[in-house]
């Protein structure tokens, strides 16, 4: 089996700017390091353009920001900035700025992942939803036709999640342990993508179990690996490789590994497919 494609972010900073750059235009290096949205302040005018990935947009002015269309105009999850647009036909749209320091998916998009596999209208299973920050942005992307099943075990984060869900009707909070998908199998249908952000040493088996219950064959998944929480003695690269091998045994074939350099600690994002049809060598 060929090794999965090494993410663009790894192996030097050469391909670093591809994510935003492909969408159109460069981004301020200074802005990304210090603030969440570049040099964008309240009252600034920005230009919102579609990103290369479906459902995601870029806001450009002096600095760039990753942005999603707000499903619930007027509501913010925590203190993020919003962009208010009035179209020519007097309809209004609102976008929310997505912070790559808070959300690993946003960091992966900024670094330049080939495909996040999330489109408007998809059903998403999110394990390890925490307070719901990334979940809210994923629910923005999938829109009203899509659905996000957010699984979170802790009750403190769970209450934040439930509060967020009251406003967003396409998120279903599930306050259960992701190790036992049988407990919430009545609530979840077949999903098109699993996002997994649980930092447990046995996360490969957790996601494999959930995939066997809920993930469609031919669909995709994303896992964030925190090298320290799996095995703090080994080097990060070894940990990632081991996790990838564990996933491959469970029919979760990784296609991209992306080390997340702008997060603290050793994090990596693995994107891949589940029960992908084998390529025919003709």
């Amino acid at each position: 089996m060929s090794p999965p494609q090494r993410g663009r972010g790894g192996g030097g900073g050469g391909g670093r700017g591809r994510g935003l750059a492909k969408g159109g235009g460069g981004s301020a290096v200074r802005g990304r390091g210090s603030e969440s949205g570049g040099g964008i302040k309240g009252g600034n005018k920005v230009l919102v353009a579609p990103h290369r990935h479906a459902g995601v947009f870029i806001a450009k002015s002096k600095g760039d920001a990753l942005v999603t269309k707000n499903l619930v105009p007027g509501e913010i999850i925590y203190d993020e900035k919003r962009i208010f647009v009035q179209n020519e036909d007097r309809s209004t749209v609102e976008y929310r700025i997505w912070n790559p320091h808070r959300s690993k998916l946003a960091a992966a998009i900024n670094i330049g992942v080939d495909n996040i596999w999330i489109n408007p209208g998809l059903k998403v299973l999110y394990l390890g939803a925490s307070s719901g920050y990334t979940v809210s942005h994923v629910s923005d992307i999938v829109g009203h036709e899509g659905c996000v099943y957010a699984v979170e075990h802790s009750h403190i984060c769970g209450s934040d999640l439930v509060n967020m869900t009251e406003k967003r009707t396409n998120v279903i909070p599930i306050i259960e342990d992701a190790r036992h998908p049988a407990k919430y199998r009545m609530l979840v249908g077949m999903v098109d993508i699993i996002l997994c952000d649980i930092n447990q040493p046995d996360q490969a088996t957790i996601i494999a179990l959930n995939a066997s219950y809920f993930l469609k064959p031919g669909a995709h998944f994303m896992i964030t690996i925190n090298a320290n929480s799996i095995d703090s003695k080994l080097s990060a690269e070894t940990v990632y490789q081991k996790e990838v091998e564990k996933l491959q045994m469970e029919e979760l074939r990784p296609t991209e590994i992306l080390p997340l350099d702008n997060c603290e600690g050793d994090h990596a994002c693995v994107f891949g497919g589940y029960r992908l049809p084998r390529k025919q060598n003709s």
């Binding site: 981004s27 309240g42 579609p50 919003r82 647009v85």
Partner: protein
Amino acid sequence: MAETSKPLIGLKWEPKLPGLSLDLKTAGSTSSKRAESTSLWTSNSELVDGLCLPPTDPKKINKMIRKQLKDTTGSDWFDMPAPTMTPELKRDLQLLKLRTVMDPALHYKKAVTRSKIAEKYFQIGTVIEPCAEYHNRLTKKNRKATLADELLSDPKASQYRKRKVKEIEEKSRAVTNKKWKKKGNQSKNTKQRRN
């Protein structure tokens, strides 16, 4: 040969849609001419996809009218409409392309060739900050209507810009005798020359 209106003579009446003519034989040949006169015909530059020509089949034309295709990005980006280009918008787009030179301290990554979608579909919006960021927002006077206006009113950027413009002007100004080239910005002649 564009017809502006069909003369309603006699007992025959039919709606002025292209392709609905009872004269089916000439439908194919005349519908293209008739299509020019109706609002459905669009010039090549206005079409969504430059390769697509308007269909000559009357059924297809009717279908398009019924669907009332709008110029949007489609469902992938929630039907973002294309804005009508005004000179202000063009200026803003140009500014974004040239933002590497606006501030000497800010450095941007090299812009890869933009996707066709991002060139055509975009929106200008204002940023609304959360309540907690009351310290980091523009004052009322600093809020402007376009990106270009914002750049003009920003004092740091304008200092740099004025200095740079002056330097460029000084260099490029043709002189007969270098000794007579007036320097300094306080004398009456230089002030008059600059304004």
